[in-house]
């Protein structure tokens, strides 16, 4: 099951954009005014909300919300 709705609601707490503009293709660094620290804060929130542990080294190459969705789902499967 896609986690995109959860990702979107968390990102919306940090970025002032219309919800419909956030898709799997959205690159937060490029399309939203979010810096890498904002992104880390979002990931921290998701860690705590979803009860998963993220490896910072594995997060570095995730570009879009779709990449993040796939990564978190793979973590949850493990």
């Amino acid at each position: 099951m896609s986690l995109l709705p959860i990702l979107v609601s968390t990102v919306l707490e940090y970025a002032d954009v219309p919800p419909e503009s956030l898709t799997r293709q959205t690159n937060p660094g490029l399309d939203l005014n979010l810096n890498s620290y904002d992104m880390m804060s979002i990931l921290g929130r998701l860690e705590s909300d979803l009860g998963v542990h993220f490896d910072e080294r594995e997060l570095r190459n995730l570009a879009t919300l779709g990449d993040l969705d796939d990564y978190i789902r793979s973590q949850l499967r493990h």
Partner: protein
Amino acid sequence: MSPKYYEAERLRDLRELVERGDREFGDKVVFRDLDSSGTIHDHSFRELRQDVAALGTALLDRGLSGRHIALIGESSYGYVICYLAAVTSGAIVVPIDQELTKDEMVALLNKSDSDALLFSDSLDRTVPDLLEGCPRIGLVAKMTMYRRNQDDSLNLTDLLESGRALLRQGDNRYEKAETDPEAMCAILFTSGTTGANKGVMLSQRNLTTVVFGAFSLYRFPSVSMSVLPIHHSYEFNLHVLGCIYGGLTLCFNDSLMHVGKNLLEFRPGMSLMVPMIVESLQKSIWREATRGHLDKHLRYGLWYSNLIRKIGIDARRYFFKPILKNFGGNLKMIVSGAAPLNPVVAKEMSDMGITVYNGYGITECAPLISANCPRLNVPGSVGIPIPGIEIRIVEPDSEGNGEIQVRGDNVMLGYYNDSVATEQTFTADGWFKTGDLGHIGRREALFVTGRKKNLIILPNGKNVQPEELEELMCNNLDYLKEVVVHQGFNKAGGEIIVASGYLEPDYVERVGKQSAHTQFQTDVARLNQRVVAYKHIQKVVVCDEEFQKTSTRKIKRHTYPGVSQ
């Protein structure tokens, strides 16, 4: 000493720093860190001295005096004792950014002639590959402190135990080991991984000078929180060494993902930050206020608080208590450095009760050059120089801006194995050329206004040499005729790295402009994987014409957006 400065004590070297810490502060906690399960571990000044002596003895026993010891890992007490034991026993430390790619780490390990590698658990899977590329490295150990190894590899606990055993048997090699405070004790790499990066050689005199300088400018709250990477000179030399000097407790944040949570846990009075984090904290305050429909109240509160401060009533910590509670409730002071800070953000944070002091430094100056401080805070400036160093402005233009040059005990010894670069960066009369432009303005404060060199400074304080990325692209993309890497903006106005390329006209004609653009974009995304994440090019632009050139055929970089002259 000028009344601008507080009284502070100059120390000879790091051994004196550690011994003085034990003598003056003994059982007080100096470092607090978290293990992987989230359990907090406290370490006292006395324990620090004992552990540094034990580890120093173990390193001497393994013949590492005078050798180069690379450190790769996240912030922890283990990292601190590795650094201090190495330096105080006569070795040279090489702190390396743990965010780098494997190839980048191999390049720096070899360039620094590293003989040993101490690394944290998170690098476990990377290290075998690193060692394949670094035949010189002999001793390899993990900085693991809070759990037993799963395998038989050497770790910090083993080294500490062997050092303690030797000390119990009367081994006094560490006690007798003498180090020269003027000699190289650390090699720190500037940005870049090819020809662009340089190994900055620092001495213990450099380190003790900036610690003395920081404590001449400030009196700090008793608990601080570390959020920046520990390999960086700003974090280690000022924050870690400064806390030992000043008798402070430094709490290590375990991940940028957990800053908010750890502020609540550790309740620090201060922190050292980069503008990106300060700006995010400020944004988070307004975001929370808006969400709770309290933004109008906050605006009014700020207006009223500023009004009554003019008549000497400072009620900021009372008015803004609910906001300050989100940062642990005690946060009063942030020192921001490594990149330019928006003065509006600094003022607003200060108006809410968290005073932000902007400072200026460069790795080659260990890194502190100047900073604003309680006794002299000039908005928009980077403050006054630390005591005992000199600053001059060379060849000022009509507005008084010229190159900032520095002379003093904070200035590096030179670049490791690079006499040409060393010679180029010092003037004939011995001043260090920062490459930054500025002037001395109001109340003798220094103002930094631009850069002479082609360096992109990101809001997170990371520096990017555009030439390194340009070389990577030119060497790998046959159809790329010319490229300029520069700072640009994303759709929402945030700063990003952009590559503007002029492609071979035959190639564009053959495949069409749209396909050429797509190919360029795809190839740049692929090449991004070869460099550390903060250097990733996030946008490519295909230019229709060749770049403008000077008479010597150099591209006029400053004609492109965000490119400094």
